[in-house]
């Protein structure tokens, strides 16, 4: 293999995939990225066996071929290179010579044959999406993914394609975030739990401009953009029946300023116990009172005006969960619907049903 590349393009390509490489691997070759020529591009591939991605970088190919190199070292090298044409040449015994401007490296590679392939299993039914919209749906739900390693099925985001809508759902068993949007050409039904790492990578590589296509095929989630492909193994396991826990027709409905509620929560929860950050909410006509107390530190209290005319209600929440939900909503005013101290509450923006967050209360 003998190729010439632009340093900036190569660096950008590497950055798109190198996060997938785990700091510790079961197989030595998984510490490497695969570099292979394809037409007049160099394809860079990284995988941890569960998630893999490839990116194509424009290249002048003098001779075709392939090699693998340490992802970390290659990243460190390319980051420091001057903005000059860069050449990669594979020599005998998997040695690789990298030249750029006045600097040259002779690097130890590993043969490409052992590198696990990153390919979608079947010809998928692609769902076209705006990159910006997908990124938004994911950032507005991903915070609710579980970190509890004993609940694998919750360590990701559920993609559900049904009756012309795409729904993206995440939950940790305490709260649930759901974003949905109609699909232009409807069609098809599919569902799958996309693992945390793939979700993070997708959010990281998605810019604002490009259109993307996603697919759920067999046990894989696939995302592709021009020059980029990500394939992730879906999480096996049963995602809980989320529709069942979404409250409908709760009697206590209030409307409140998003920023005012968030600021008050942040102020009051300073005194909450650190692990679960409990805050007590006292709702009465026209007013919402937040209190927090800590036997070692003292008490905090703040009232703010709300549009509410129902009965009095006292309910406790983990203030972090409420702040996460408020952070995911853009509108100035939010609606919260509650029932009693033991039933889940729901928060959404005043306009639109396309995003909401369900939060289970705390016993306080």
């Amino acid at each position: 293999m003998d190729v010439q590349l632009e340093r900036d393009a190569f660096s950008k390509g590497l950055q798109m995939v190198q996060n997938i490489v785990e700091p510790r691997q079961t197989l030595p070759i998984l510490a490497n990225v695969l570099l292979e020529t394809e037409g007049d591009t160099l394809r860079v591939t990284a995988t941890d066996l569960a998630v893999g991605a490839c990116v194509s970088v424009p290249a002048k190919v003098a001779s075709a071929g392939a090699i693998t190199l340490s992802a970390r070292k290659l990243g460190e090298i390319v980051k420091e290179l001057p903005a000059a044409p860069l050449s990669l040449k594979v020599q005998e015994n998997a040695w690789v010579v990298l030249r750029c401007g006045g600097v040259s490296y002779k690097l130890v590679g590993l043969p490409p044959e052992d590198f696990p392939a990153v390919v979608p299993t079947a010809g998928p039914a692609w769902i076209p999406l705006e990159g910006k919209a997908l990124k938004e749906m994911l950032t507005r739900t991903a915070f609710a993914m579980s970190h509890d390693e004993s609940r694998y099925a919750l360590n990701g985001v559920l993609f559900s394609l049904q009756s012309g809508r795409l729904r993206v759902v995440a939950t940790d068993g305490h709260r649930l975030a759901l974003a949905s949007r109609p699909l232009p050409n409807g069609g098809g039904a599919a569902t799958g739990i996309v693992p945390r790492k793939a979700v993070q990578e997708v959010v990281r590589v998605l810019g604002v401009g490009e259109d993307v296509q996603v697919a759920l095929v067999e046990n894989q989630f696939v995302l592709r953009m021009p020059n980029f492909l990500l394939v992730a193994r879906l999480i096996e396991g049963q995602f809980p029946n989320y529709e069942q826990v979404v409250p409908k027709g709760h009697p206590c409905r209030l409307v409140v300023s998003r920023s005012a509620l968030a600021a008050a929560l942040r102020r009051v929860s300073v005194l909450s116990e650190e692990r679960t950050k409990p805050v007590k909410v006292l709702l009465s006509p026209g007013s919402l009172k937040l209190t927090a107390q800590n036997p070692e530190l003292g008490e905090a209290e703040e009232s703010l005006p709300v549009d509410y005319s129902g009965e009095e209600l006292a309910i406790g929440f983990n203030s972090r969960y409420v702040l996460d939900a408020l952070g995911a909503i853009e509108a100035d005013e939010v609606v919260a619907e509650l029932k009693d101290a033991l039933s889940p509450g729901i928060i959404r923006s005043l306009e639109g049903e396309e995003y909401f967050c369900v939060i289970m209360p705390m016993r306080i």
Binding site: D148, S150, G173, H174, P240, V358, M360, P361, R363
Partner: protein
């Protein structure tokens, strides 16, 4: 708060051959005879306690029961009656608690007491220890050994020195003389390995160890070297903690015969999970980490653990432990299986759950079962899947 007095008075009380002594107390025909409390002597468990009569044959606790049976075939072998010992332990701790609110039980049959500053009220610490021993003898009809010293480490060493029915005081200033000729194995935390390493350095007694510069020990043993140095000089700052929080709760079982029977292993794990969950609820804890322990026929032992949400629910503990179990490759038959719950947090989890349909109801069922168990014993109510396991022994 005023400054703590620089010299403390700590008493360590340790019951003599506790389980065996309780049995001898309750069954006069056993007095003067070797009594061994522990596993079935035909099986493969261990000795939990040996009476002093049995100890003259070389039997000691933690010894394989089969070996004890060979050393002392004429001994009376009794099963462990934990309910009874726990009851007696309660009586003992009640007596001890009258002498200081700073009482730290470290097992059913031993405890530390901090009696610093009670001299004008109760007399000198040595007299307090005498009084405690006398009262245990009169009221609980058992003998105890006690150690009196300026810290926990020395008090425990002292109580162990003249067992049974011993009483040893280490007065402030006498630490060095007291420790000088004792073998290094007496130091807290020094087992066979460290003792061997020390011996290789020409160190056999605590006195010799005390003369080694701390730098040399740190170089050889790391952080642990500093602690060794402190202990060798009889220094130990650990306070007596009245409400020492447990670090973990667990259960384990050695099978009568090594087993490959997945169903038996599963059931054993479920029974253990229920037992540990009950203990957690009784003490008001929930735990985040579940650890599975397996020992195979060749004694190779592995542990696997998983951290999640805090739980005190037997089924949930079982679910996590069994998940770990299923991922272990079992080439050999299993000799021992056990589980423990750690990363304990106080109180019931306040956060309600979205999906477990009726967590509050499960919790109420568990608590009702706990009450039944308290009144009618552990075997009165248990998961039906353990039925086969519960045949009367």
């Amino acid at each position: 708060m005023g400054a703590a007095p620089s010299i403390r008075s700590i008493i360590h009380v340790d019951m003599d051959a506790f389980y065996a002594s309780v049995e001898q107390r309750d069954r006069p025909e056993l007095r003067g005879r070797p009594v061994i409390v522990g596993a079935d002597p035909r099986g493969r468990g261990v000795v939990s306690a040996a009476s002093y009569e049995a100890r003259t044959f070389g039997v000691h606790s933690a010894m394989p029961i089969g070996k004890a049976a060979r050393l002392c075939p004429q001994a009376v072998f009794l099963p462990v009656d934990m309910d009874k010992y726990a009851r007696v332990s309660g009586e003992i701790m009640a007596v001890l608690s009258e002498y200081s609110p700073l009482l730290e039980p470290i097992s059913v049959d031993e405890a530390f007491l901090d009696v610093t500053g009670t001299e004008r009220l109760l007399g000198p610490p040595l007299e307090v220890a005498k009084a405690i021993k006398a009262r245990l003898c009169q009221e609980v009809h058992l003998t105890a050994s006690a150690g009196v010293a300026p810290n926990k480490f020395l008090a425990k060493l002292a109580s162990d020195l003249r067992k049974p029915d011993g009483l040893v005081e280490v007065e402030p200033g006498d630490e060095a003389a007291f420790l000088r000729d004792l073998p290094v194995e007496r130091l807290w935390g020094v087992g066979r390995v460290t003792a061997r390493d020390l011996r290789a350095m020409g160190i056999e007694t605590i006195g010799q160890l005390a003369r080694v510069p701390v730098g040399v020990l740190v170089k050889r043993f790391g952080k642990w070297g500093t602690l060794l140095h402190e202990l060798a000089h009889g220094r130990d700052d650990r306070p007596v903690e009245a409400f020492a929080q447990p670090k973990s709760m667990g259960a384990e079982e050695t099978f009568a015969e090594d087993t490959r029977d997945g169903e038996e292993l599963r059931r054993t794990l479920l029974a253990q999970a229920e037992r540990v969950a009950r203990e957690l609820r009784a003490e008001g804890y929930a735990g985040r980490t579940v650890t599975l322990k397996l020992r195979f026929a060749d004694f190779h032992t592995i542990t696997r653990s998983l951290t999640g949400e805090a739980t005190q629910d037997g089924l949930e503990i079982f679910r996590r432990a069994f998940g770990l179990f299923e991922r272990v490759e079992r080439v050999q038959p299993v000799r021992l299986i056990g589980l423990s719950v750690s990363s304990l947090v106080r109180g019931e989890p306040g956060q309600l759950s979205l999906f477990s349909a009726a967590p509050a109801r499960r919790d109420r069922v568990a608590r009702a079962a706990d009450r039944v168990a308290r009144r009618f014993g552990d075997r009165a109510l248990f998961p039906a899947s353990l039925l086969e396991h519960s045949k009367p022994r």
